[in-house]
């Protein structure tokens, strides 16, 4: 159901995250939709409250109070007796309430396939695209013994299982065997034992009857179209839709307070608006950007528990999403340390800190996830950890976002010597146009310069790449809002959500610190000119306002290249942003920091100073 501006003048949207519930107010003012106020409160899915709606009430109360202050009107009111007043009548009430959610662990799924790298991966892609965390992929050829697979299935307790396998009309044996293993394990759902575990079958249609015979009694079996009907084609839509339906019908119903929340999310005519898993909502937005602007996009949403990476690449706008379930800035912060190792975190820190002190700081953040760094030194450390969490999540994404594996390809002679194979990553940093950051540590960094630094250091963009950030973390809200008003979502997205930070220019190749790397001449708006021969291992920040363009002439030295065609010289328009244009000559492929500690710290300080990342007193 969609509504126009006459019916939607004031909307509350919340995102119930694993740590905080973020509420925003969207209003139709002077002929356009704007995001006007924001509030937040701790998410309340834990004892003693055990009810997600309390966090929604608290964050909405903050919205109400700030709205009264902003409009100097004490009569403004969105809720009464702990419930939203819909529709709005003057100062009282709102026209719609919508929400996304990743609280309570989000949507946790297990997927099965016959060949792990083929139908298994397609099933994983479908689950991830629907906003799930994939707990495990079990496939006929995954090298575990059958009894180990059964044990694993039994212990996982997912919210649902997605089963794929076999082309339509192909062999049924392997997919039926997998069903037998699932049946033998007799898996139980994560939340509550009062209902049967939903299992979606999206494999070879010839096997449906056998699958029914094997599974129908033990689980809640849902049959849908084969998600890999042919080796060369995926058909993920029907499976994704089923996942969404079941998420609403089963999973949400079981989480504390969600029954009530599902009653609350309604449009102006009191029609219900389904709650969307947060990553699905962000995925909607990323795909819209790519298609509207006809560009390649990488987006990241780093949360307390998980980090989601989204990408849209190639002329077909192939969308991929991965979720790194245990990389995040609060609940999972300790796992970032365990996965990346202490040395990788410390390489971004421009001062000395005792290992035990750092470990304890990280663990204290893990056990008290809602605290925020009030000391500068702690902020620097958290941002160093964020770079590693982002880097690791992106590595996982690059590996996953690949062309379909197992396809036959005809090659021409020009390809005979190239390394590209079926299943190669489609993430190409050289052709990437836009990198968008979202999530607390990026959206709420005290200085936007820090966001630029984190994005560049973690993702290592190559060639010319625009950088942007979700201003106050509202992409999930807009993703679900677009379901009832694409216009409101688009207008708010362009005016209030996307903050263009600037452009990064990073020549690719090796070099030696101090040797010539890049000649850059930038003709800036207003007639100013920046011109410099920048040595290797440097960063320059040239202010250029949002909406403005600098005419740049770029020439590289010593084998460095600037774009996918390996150009060493370019004349190009570089877009400004609230930070500006960053020229980064630290090299790519490889990107390496000085190994000697003193030298590394001295360079880090120099780059941080140039990027205006931190106050001077921590960089002396």
């Amino acid at each position: 159901m969609q509504y126009d501006e006459k019916r939607l003048t004031r909307i509350v949207a919340t995102d119930c995250g694993s740590t905080t519930t973020k509420a925003i107010l969207i209003e139709y003012v002077d002929g356009e939709y704007r995001q006007t106020i924001r509030g937040e409160a701790p998410t309340t899915v834990e004892a003693p409250l055990n009810d997600v709606t309390k966090g929604v009430i608290n964050s909405t109360q903050e919205l109400e109070e700030l709205a009264r202050l902003k409009y100097n009107n004490p009569n403004i009111k969105f809720m009464e007796n702990g419930e939203f007043i819909i529709p709005r009548k003057g100062d009282i009430g709102i026209d719609a309430y919508v929400s996304t959610s990743s609280a309570g662990g989000g949507l946790q799924m297990m997927v099965t396939g016959v060949v792990a790298k083929m139908t298994g991966e397609s099933a994983e892609r479908a689950a991830l695209g629907a906003g799930a965390i994939v707990m495990d992929l079990i496939a006929s050829n995954d090298k575990r013994m059958n009894h180990e697979k059964i044990e694993r299935i039994r212990h996982l307790r997912p919210d649902m299982i997605l089963m794929a396998g076999g082309e339509d009309g192909g062999t049924v044996k392997h997919v039926v065997e997998m069903a037998e293993l699932v049946s033998g394990a007799d898996p139980k759902p994560r939340l509550g034992s009062s209902y049967k575990l939903p299992v979606i079958y999206a494999g070879n249609k010839e096997a449906v009857e056998e699958i029914r015979k094997t599974l129908a009694e033990k689980v809640d079996l849902i049959i849908t179209d084969n998600l890999r009907p042919k080796l060369e084609a995926e058909n993920l839509g029907p499976a994704r839709d089923k996942i969404h339906d079941i998420f609403m019908e089963h999973v949400m119903q079981q989480a504390p307070g969600y029954n009530k929340l599902m009653e609350w999310t309604r449009g102006p005519d009191l029609q219900r608006v389904p709650i969307m898993p947060t990553p699905a909502a962000v995925g909607n937005i990323m795909q819209t950007i790519a298609k509207d602007e006809q560009i390649e996009v990488v987006g990241v949403d780093i949360g307390g528990a998980t980090t989601d990476v989204f990408s849209v690449f190639t002329e077909d706008y192939v969308f991929n999403r991965t979720v790194s379930a245990n990389l995040g800035m609060s609940y999972s912060i300790s796992n970032v340390l365990a996965s990346s190792g202490l040395a990788n975190i410390m390489r971004w820190v421009p001062f000395d800190i005792n290992e035990s002190e750092l470990r304890n700081m990280i663990k204290n953040k893990m056990i008290r996830p809602t605290t925020i760094p009030s000391l500068l030194e702690e902020l620097v450390l958290e941002q160093a950890i964020a770079k590693e969490a982002l880097r690791l999540a992106f590595e996982q994404h690059k590996e996953f976002a690949s062309s379909l594996k197992g396809m036959q390809r005809q090659r021409d002679i020009s390809e005979a010597f190239s390394q590209s194979t079926s299943g190669a990553s489609i993430v190409n940093m050289m052709t990437l146009n836009l990198l968008v950051g979202s999530g607390g540590v990026l959206s709420h960094a005290p200085r936007r310069y820090q966001t630029v630094m984190m994005l560049i250091d973690a993702f290592l963009p190559e060639g010319i790449t625009r950088l942007a950030v979700d201003s106050i973390f509202m992409m999930p809200h807009l993703g679900v809002l677009s379901e009832i008003s694409p216009r409101a979502a688009t207008e708010v997205f362009r005016k209030d959500c996307m903050v263009y930070l600037g452009t990064c220019v990073a020549p690719v190749g090796k070099g030696k610190y101090g040797k010539p790397a890049l000649y850059a001449k930038l003709e800036l708006p207003g007639g100013k000119v920046f011109e410099e021969n920048i040595p290797f291992g440097e960063i320059r920040l040239i202010p250029c306002e949002p909406g403005k363009v600098a005419k740049a002439t770029l020439k590289t030295s010593s084998g460095l290249i600037l774009d996918a065609s390996k150009a060493k010289e370019l004349t190009v328009d570089l877009h400004g942003g609230i930070v500006g244009i960053v020229l980064d000559t630290r090299g790519r492929q490889p990107f390496a920091l000085p190994t000697e500690k003193g030298e590394r710290i001295s360079y880090l300080k120099k780059w941080m100073r140039e990027l205006k990342a931190y106050p001077e007193d921590i960089l002396v």
Partner: protein
């Protein structure tokens, strides 16, 4: 804004504790409503299904899955031993020459036979599981076939982080003051089977000595993460703990590092030193948060078992708070103001802050997110 919600840990000298003791699968409840139970009593038991062994019978017999039907000697639900013949063929020309048979590799039950894959699933014998009461109390509800609810009146302390499973034992206060760091020499044979309280910190070598003396549990203000890594042999990635098998249970009341135990927690533990407590280290910080608990049962009458409705700890002027992040980590202060506007702190983050006063009269401004309410 006059008040705001802030999460905190529960520390109270008396409350109604309600514990659900549920079987992992349906089974038999052994007690009835109204039964008085001790922590050690078994209240419910069940048989967990045994391990499933997939076994490709068609392959073993050298026939196709569809042919298997002719030779199979078992059906789903049959009890089997290692001698049971699962299938046999009739030999060459059906005359019994080169007859081959396949016997069960395990004891148990036939779960399923598939004519599509030729696979049979054999299930090993069931495994008995018992659930104990864990706390002294009274059975107030029986959930048929699933378990019970046990209630009592207890002094109750929620820890922030723990490792190790459920234990019961006598509390023994070894620390003199909340900021004490006990000497290893204080741990003697007198500590055997006790749950000791060590003050602000417990280092690795003290934990080792405690293990040697058969200490059941340690309650401490803080612990060093590196020591936990040494104890477990691995780094805790995601905080889901409680099933470690290190010979004792550890509960931290404050966090990582040396942190003075909250006075109220310390005073309660001191007051109840010598009494029986039920303690566990189960911690799960995500998706249905679980915190470690120290439950000290008190005498009670059944009519006292009325739990107060869960309320939100509220931050308002005069509220006592504990600071849970640097600077001033672990210290107590009283809220003096809750300014509405966002304020810049040292890290330049714009946050909602509160103003508070320490006992000595000095004042601070601190992010609201970095405090917890001490419930009075």
């Amino acid at each position: 804004m006059g008040q705001a919600y802030s999460a905190g840990l529960t520390v109270t000298e008396s409350m109604v504790v309600r514990k659900e003791r549920i079987l992992p699968l349906k089974g038999k409840v052994l007690v009835t409503k109204g039964t008085k139970v001790k922590a050690e009593d078994v209240v419910a038991e069940t048989l967990l299904p045994g391990k499933v062994i997939p076994f490709n019978l068609a392959n073993k017999l050298g026939v196709t899955p569809t042919q298997l039907e002719k030779y199979i000697k078992i059906k789903a639900g049959d009890q089997i031993t290692k001698k049971t013949i699962l299938a046999e063929n009739s030999g060459l020309f059906g005359l019994g020459f080169f007859k081959s048979e396949v016997r069960s590799p395990v004891e148990g039950e036939v779960e399923n036979i598939s004519a599509v894959t030729g696979q049979v699933l054999l299930r090993e014998p069931r495994i008995p599981v018992q659930v104990r009461a864990f706390v002294d109390g009274i059975v107030t509800k029986v959930i048929p076939d699933e378990g019970v609810v046990i209630e009592n009146k207890s002094a109750y302390i929620q820890g922030i982080f723990g490792i190790g499973d459920e234990i019961t034992g006598e509390l023994l206060m070894l620390a003199e003051t909340p900021d004490d760091e006990i000497d290893a020499g204080k741990i003697t044979e007198a500590c055997r089977n006790k749950i000791i309280i060590t003050g602000s910190f417990v280092p690795y070598h003290v934990i080792e000595i405690a293990r040697k003396h058969g200490v059941k549990g340690i309650i401490t203000g803080g612990i060093d993460d590196q020591d936990i890594k040494k104890l477990l042999g691995y780094d805790i990635g995601v905080a889901i703990t409680g099933h470690e098998n290190i010979g004792l249970t550890i509960v931290c009341t404050e966090g990582f590092g040396k942190i003075t135990m909250a006075k109220k927690t310390f005073d309660l533990l001191k007051q109840f030193s010598g009494q029986k407590a039920s303690v566990h280290g189960h911690t799960q910080i995500r998706a249905g948060v679980i915190r470690p608990e120290i439950i000290i049962p008190l005498d009670f009458n059944e009519d006292e078992l009325i739990s107060k409705e869960a309320s939100m700890p509220i931050l308002e002027i005069g509220t006592l708070i504990r600071i849970i992040r640097q600077p001033h980590f672990g210290t107590i202060a009283k809220v003096t103001a809750l300014p509405e506007e966002l304020t810049k702190v040292e890290s330049e983050t714009m946050v909602r802050i509160l103003e508070a006063e320490f006992e000595d009269g000095t004042r601070i401004r601190i992010p609201r997110a970095n405090v917890e309410v001490i419930e009075s």
